[in-house]
Symmetry: C3
Subunit: 330 residues, 3 copies
């Protein structure tokens, strides 16, 4: 999602001219896949993407496999429709497809019938990415994971109407449904810290969250520090407000804070004392907003996804030009 | 809705100068009525509008009568508020009023108390059309039937709070509520094909759908072919996903595909192989989205209207500038 | 909210230069507080703000105290983040905070735990005000009370998930829940007239509404007349449609009409016969929309807030450039 110029391992090729030999082009095409996975957290880094992919396979083979299906379909769709090559190379056309794959296999079950739905969802996500870019570019806002949120939400809401789709669906009740109570244990706390990072990809095992954190650190120490601090801010915000301990332990109050914190700390906002304070308020707002949106979406089956991150970060970035103390990163 | 230049039978008069004799002005004013009905499906054609009106009266006298009330009120409001004459002449200010009239008489009953509600709704629809045009013009997007969708949805949601309004309301449960099951019969199939065209105007008799198809063919063979193909795509998409057979037979998965297919085949997108593939994906997406939006709106009484068409077509048109393979029609 | 130039008692100071002595600067800073309260109804008038504050304290000490907390926090946040000084001085950064304070103490109870929520809500409201201004300025639309509506709605929806927040919450069922029926008495009528004005600030005692009306008259006779006429229009619209008498008597169909009527009568639309007709239609539309939005929000606990006013007035102002008979005020 970062708009940084293509680095060494990203092809700088232009539309219309394509002098690179076939082997290099194939290599570059292949590298857009891990970059597409890493761009879920704004990193155009191949190694980060590969570590994220390992984390997904550790979480369950189906998460890794459907993530690959999603990122591949979305990237190929964008390529075929003629999206700017640089965007495709940087992985900016793949990250929504990655999340669509992981979310649909989680909600609808590990089943062959989920395959065409992920393909269709990833195609729709690519068209929606292009449409949102048309609308948001005048405001200098990226799409973030909004295309994924829209596609996954609509498919999750519509799924019960379709016999073929709904056959293998999973229960999506939060952990607190079977384990209510607001008293947070030490286990809830440290699991919640790592799960806050893993839940960006819907993973709820602490060691999977740890692998994601390592993947971020490979790309940037600052980003990993921002992710860890934001997970803690989300956890503490939820705890102070009196959220359910089991949900805190599963990282449900952390992952939106993590994405918001990374986005507002150096990525899209210039790093400064005022900027960091702004990011802290943003991360806490995203965590607080989580319950509101969860209750709202519960009406239709409950899928909060990364909506709190998307909405809070759009608002915080759109506000920057009005605030003389905060500046957008180039 | 088409932005084509005024044809022969549309007055080319400018603001401020009005040299046409009174008889011709009256004739032109009268012709805006059938054009307003035909513009529901993007055709500024008087004969198409008259055939559509016949179809509505065949469906039930109240549909024809309230469509006339709606299109007349909306057109008169736009004229009185000073909307550009060309838009008014082409029927672009009438089609949302047409649908408001048909929808409200269907939901709230054939009753004198529905008359002022249609008038009020059509006035609100005209103001909303102007507001949306202000907002959407920078993105080169038409309003489509969004003003109708907003007005009819809000009135349908609010109606139960108003004793006078709610007195004569009709049951709006889908056919599958009394006839569940996913096994589609041959009758479901061919009824569904024609009803998919008739449901654009809320009509659920196959021969009414056939009259609408004839009306489209009078304006353009291509448009009629696109409508027929799209109704089939919608039907097959819903069937493949496992939708309720009675709803498929009533055309509930077809009408949004029909409108989307017409809009993306030559009307707003240049006709080309890639453009037709784009239209097919769009029509299937609109059909798939139907269940999602129906479940969402069921929470407040269930009125899907033409929201799937409006949202999908906005997204597919807004995305065009990003895709080098697809081009907007002039 | 009015964009009139700073009057005598508003400091005309520019960024970077600050020649006024400390005493005057303190006095100016202090006067932004009552102006922030008065701006809820578009008046940058200190006396109006003080009378509104008295009305709130007459309604209940907690409404006055939390309004002060909200307006102070919002204004200080805007100042610290570097919002344009003129906007801050005119009270344009305070009015959403005012309403956030009043709404949260009403919904969540008079409790110490409500204090940090009002502070957090007012900070979020200030950021959202800046973001909406970035987005709406190209369309020449003000934010109105949208930031308050979003923050209060999200907090009200999320509150039940948070044990600490939900502990002291109040019942928010409408009066008709315990007193159903559509037969309006004379008491319902004249109470409804004054309460329609008081409900802008969530007050449901007729004499509090009267004090607010006096506050408006101090700023402008025209504005007070528009408010009174609009309250009547809202009441009659609800009554004619057959709304519950107890809700009409509590002013629930009046307050959105009042705000819409003031906004469209001379404030943002040039005063003219067509303009007044436009304002009457707008006020009636806002009242009619109230039931629709109330039923929509009932799904998540029911908080209509000033959404009908915000949406209707945005639509009616965005439509103005299309209508040659209506003109925007400078």
């Amino acid at each position: 999602m970062a708009s940084s110029p293509p680095s060494e391992d990203a092809p700088g090729e232009q539309h219309g001219e394509d002098p690179a030999p076939a082997a290099e082009r194939a290599r570059n095409a292949l590298l857009t896949i891990p970059r597409g996975i890493a761009q879920v957290e704004f990193q155009p880094n191949v190694w980060t993407g590969l570590i994220f992919l390992i984390a997904l396979f550790v979480g369950g083979w189906q998460f890794g496999a459907f993530a690959l299906l999603g990122v591949g379909t979305a990237t190929a769709t964008a390529y075929l429709l003629g999206v700017d090559r640089n965007r495709v190379s940087l992985g900016l056309e793949g990250f929504n497809g990655t999340l669509i794959g992981v979310a649909l296999v989680l909600y609808l079950g590990t089943d062959w019938s989920t395959v065409p739905l992920v393909v269709g969802g990833a195609v729709a996500g690519s068209v929606l990415t292009a449409a949102l870019n048309s609308v948001l570019t005048p405001y200098k806002l990226p799409t973030f994971t909004a295309p994924f949120c829209v596609v996954a939400l609509v498919m999750a809401i519509g799924a019960p109407s379709y016999a073929r789709v709904w056959a293998g669906h999973n229960n999506s009740a939060p952990p607190s449904a079977t384990d209510p109570g607001t008293a947070m244990t030490w286990t809830d706390f440290w699991h919640g810290f790592f799960n806050g990072i893993g839940q960006v990809f819907f993973q709820d095992k602490w060691y999977v969250g740890l692998i994601f954190l390592i993947g971020l650190a490979v790309s940037s120490r600052l980003v990993a520090a921002a992710a860890a601090a934001s997970s803690l801010i989300g956890l503490l915000t939820g705890w102070w407000l009196g959220a359910q301990a089991a949900d805190l332990g599963a990282g449900l109050y952390g992952y939106n804070a993590v994405l918001t914190g990374i986005a507002l700390t150096g990525t899209f906002v210039v790093l400064s004392p005022a900027g960091v304070a702004y990011a802290v308020v943003g991360a806490a707002t995203a965590a607080g907003l989580t319950a509101g949106l969860t209750n709202l979406f519960n009406v239709v089956g409950g899928h909060t996804l990364t909506w709190p991150f998307v909405l809070v970060t759009w608002v915080f970035l759109a506000a920057v030009p009005i605030f003389s103390r905060i500046r957008r990163a180039a």
